[in-house]
Symmetry: C3
Subunit: 412 residues, 3 copies
């Protein structure tokens, strides 16, 4: 392993942010791509991205262009986007709908399941069977898509996550949703700083005025007031609210018991109560979409959140779902892709106003972009010294950096 | 030699496209610059680029800025564009016409043959004689300029090419032509993918509608229909056309026998017949220029094509000549420079319409740009596996990649 | 040390420009940042940049963002711009005025002297005292600010410079000035070529028409005419002018004896006489500012110039001061930052016209940018050979390159 990565990890102290070079060096980035993003289950979207047979979506991760496509058998599969003839991208556009996958270079024709069915001029001896598109592991967990670029994906890890998260996701019936909007944001920051920023709400008070109109200021792993009395009062108030709400969730069959990150879990699910009567992540707290998600007949003031290492967070309310994937571009550049999903029969302009639906998180993401960028810039200086995480408010960051450093240690 | 290059070449299999890293790595690019572009004869233009004494042209190849200049003795020479005082570029503009070469920094003055004739403030002991511009080997083959950046250029290779290609080029009297247009295109692809794309027409049918209005769909090394009967019919038809045309070529003194690439030749010349009565590479097949090239009194339905490794292709019709140089910029960026030459006394707007003259190849180059770019992008993925060349239609690519791999092996 | 740097320095010949790779390679740039810019005293501005208590200025040098801030005790200090919590930049804007330094991420609060005075949610055991902003050495020499990024700044070197330059600078009372304008110019050239260009005026005649309206064509270390008789006449004329002027300077208490660079001095101060009755660096030679600098009651036709290795030059006239800092961005990109300072009570539009004040040096800097850029481009070619400095006109360059090579040798 690279010396920079090795010596950095040797100086890591749990409970503190990472040694500088793990955030800023090209060496660490190369390591991250090879041993994190090409080894773990990466959230890349949902089944709503490819609703119909023949719908495809192209995703770029590091050097890899990947086609995600729904076959004639309704299976969603992934393939490297590289023709087996001369290597050209078979799908040039980012998304589309096609009966077959045809390479634009020399018109080699592939089925939606990746098998090659036609190529001209290749002579008698040429064998189509050995020339299908190279597949990539892709799994749906209640409609959430996770991809694994390893030649030997860790299926046990996937099945463990499935057993715990599928009930949460399945409740929302993602196969009956559509993508109302997708937004890409490029942040000039290392992907781990983008993820760390997402794992705490200590920064929310001063930075996210829109989000805090509907999100609770405390709890859900996000910390408490400094003052012991205030803290106790806040805890008691929140517990009372949960106690009153739980029967309703049980009644609707909604999973609500927290799935907490620990040394065996690289994922988390938590149902939280929105504040001040809010039922959606909007400026007025009211539903952004008139047609609620399939399981809901009435607005509900809870929000389900999920986080998975290394690259995702999701927020489910009664009217829409937000899914975010973090896709590293270089050691100091990260793509943050967010999708807003609504009921498939909701009509834009009639059932929802797009800017109302997306406003809170477009603002929040941009605020977080600034925070990640100034953190990256500050971590680059010779004055950077790994600082202490707040035990109260930043324990999920410690979980993330511990997990990340573990990935490195496994390579030693 | 670099390990990436060495191990890649070890896995090369003739008849298949190159191993991934030879297209995509910085290491292979550095090798290519050092051992291909700084060792071989590179096509950099024609004598029409510097028609008059004192005309100069600056060319950038990798780190090198090179001045090509016609001297008072009518010789065309090349020099590194670096003043012998403090190293400044002597020619700042890309082209011009000057009586002397004067460095703008401290006004050192060089003759057009590179010798230093004046410098102020350098004191008594300073010797102008030892401070001429550093020369670069440059040879004209019938007016086509080939440059060699090596300290010891391979003159035997040059003379061999001269003996075979000069008759073809000389027929067109390039000293009586001018450059009507020059177009630069930057392609986000490795230079070898740009060259490979140029060496086959298997992709033409689906990608080059303009070019195929006048170019033959088969033959000239570009392959045949899959169906054996169709192939036989196409071959017989083409042979009959050639048999009828050859006496005419003989009559005019036009060389027409193919010079085929083989293990000793890194160049190729082939005269082909345009289709459907076309006599030029235009949308309607009619001449783009009223005043035909000097040797022609009547339009002629043939086109001469030349290709030289590592970086050129040329197409000669009765009214204009097209010359293209491939100039690598980085492992994933390549400059493709195309010039259209017409008779020196042809007047734009009267004798030719520039957009009519250039349309077919501006479109064709842009279509090829897209193909090279999607190939580069696909070759970058972990799903890329070197694919088989079509024996029928891609044999010139195999010649190119074999030749290229030979250049590497010579360094082992 | 890196082999490229080591072998380059071995081939260095004093009196000639540097070996190619010292100008062009990433390796040399990394060395320069580590062993020149992080070891020596770097000119970064003046006390006029942060006039009031609470004024701050952020400077970027290589990977380092640095805060320069004036404290409540009127001391000007420097700190790494990186919060001790998670590393974020505490000052996001380039300049501003604040009562405290508050990190925008989680609102940690620092005094203007860098000490941490408040952080929430960090628990009982957290010790503010150990978490102040990391300081950077910063010294004022008569109001000129010099920064040193080393952990062990060479104070002896600083005090030596102070003893010789402070009298020159102090005369101008920089604490009573303000910054009228600041201009950043990014030059596509190595920083050493930018500095070398500044250290000679051999290029001025043909390149700086504006500057030469007021600057003398000869003397001040900038060389003489080639013709021995012309040289003698020019020297005699200049000496006579100085002899006539010196009593006036003595009368005003203005230091005027040249402080020459030699093997122990990395700085230089020279008072020169402007030409043709000029008293300022303007197109008409007249003062750009009606209110002269504090020590002047009448216009004065002299100009004080200072140069410090590795990165500064300054020009003081009776109405304004120009200070320039060279801040390398990469091996082929350099930021040149220039400030024009005038009396603090001078009012723009009334007492001075900004474009009149800045015109000469904005033009001059842009002309020098072009010269540095064509030199960098020419030095990149394989035709570059270190060329001889003019003993008459380029001796200060030799001093600079000798000094620079010495810095490398000290690491061997």
């Amino acid at each position: 392993m690279n010396d920079v990565v090795k010596s950095s990890v040797a100086s890591y102290q749990s409970g503190f942010s990472l040694p500088q070079k793990l955030y800023t060096s090209r060496e660490a980035f190369d390591f991250d791509m090879q041993h994190v993003f090409k080894k773990h289950w990466i959230h890349v979207g949902t089944v709503a991205d490819v609703k119909r047979k023949g719908d495809y979506r192209v995703i770029q991760i590091d050097n890899n262009s990947i086609i995600i496509v729904r076959g004639q058998d309704d299976e969603v599969r992934a393939f490297y986007n590289s023709c087996r003839h001369r290597g050209a991208k078979v799908c040039v556009e980012d998304k589309g709908h096609v009966p077959k996958l045809v390479c634009p270079y020399h018109q080699w024709v592939y089925e939606l399941d990746g098998s090659l069915i036609h190529s001209s001029r290749m002579g008698e001896g040429f064998n189509c069977d050995a020339s299908g598109l190279k597949p990539v592991a892709l799994e749906s967990i209640g409609g959430l898509l996770f991809m694994n670029l390893s030649e030997n994906p860790d299926m046990a890890a996937l099945e463990q996550m499935r057993s715990e998260l599928e009930p949460f996701a399945a409740f929302y019936q993602l196969d009956k949703l559509k993508v109302a909007h997708e937004a890409d944001l490029i942040e000039n920051a290392n992907w781990k700083l983008v993820v760390e920023n997402n794992r705490e709400c200590y920064h929310c008070g001063a930075n996210h005025p829109e989000l805090l109109r509907v999100w609770p200021p405390y709890g859900v792993g996000f910390g408490w007031p400094d003052d012991p009395k205030e803290k106790q009062a806040a805890e008691e108030k929140l517990n009372a609210l949960y106690d009153a709400k739980i029967p309703e969730w049980q009644n609707m069959g909604m999973p609500y018991e927290i799935v907490e990150m620990d040394e065996n879990r690289w994922y988390r699910a938590a149902r939280m109560l929105l504040t001040q009567g809010a039922v959606s992540q909007t400026m007025d707290g009211q539903p952004a979409v008139k047609k609620l998600l399939p399981p809901f007949s009435e607005p509900d003031n809870s929000s389900l959140s999920m986080w998975t290492h290394p690259n995702a967070w999701l927020h489910f309310t009664c009217d829409h779902i937000l899914s975010t994937s973090v896709l590293p571009l270089s050691e100091d550049k990260t793509l943050v892709r967010t999708r807003w999903m609504v009921r498939e029969d909701a009509v834009e302009g009639e059932d929802y106003d797009l800017s109302n639906l997306t406003h809170t998180w477009i603002q929040t993401n941009d605020q977080d972009r600034m925070l990640a960028e100034i953190t990256h810039a500050g971590c680059l200086t010779d004055g950077y010294i790994p600082g202490p995480y707040s035990e109260d408010s930043e324990s999920l960051l410690q979980h993330f950096t511990d997990w990340y450093v573990d990935q490195i240690k496994q390579q030693l």
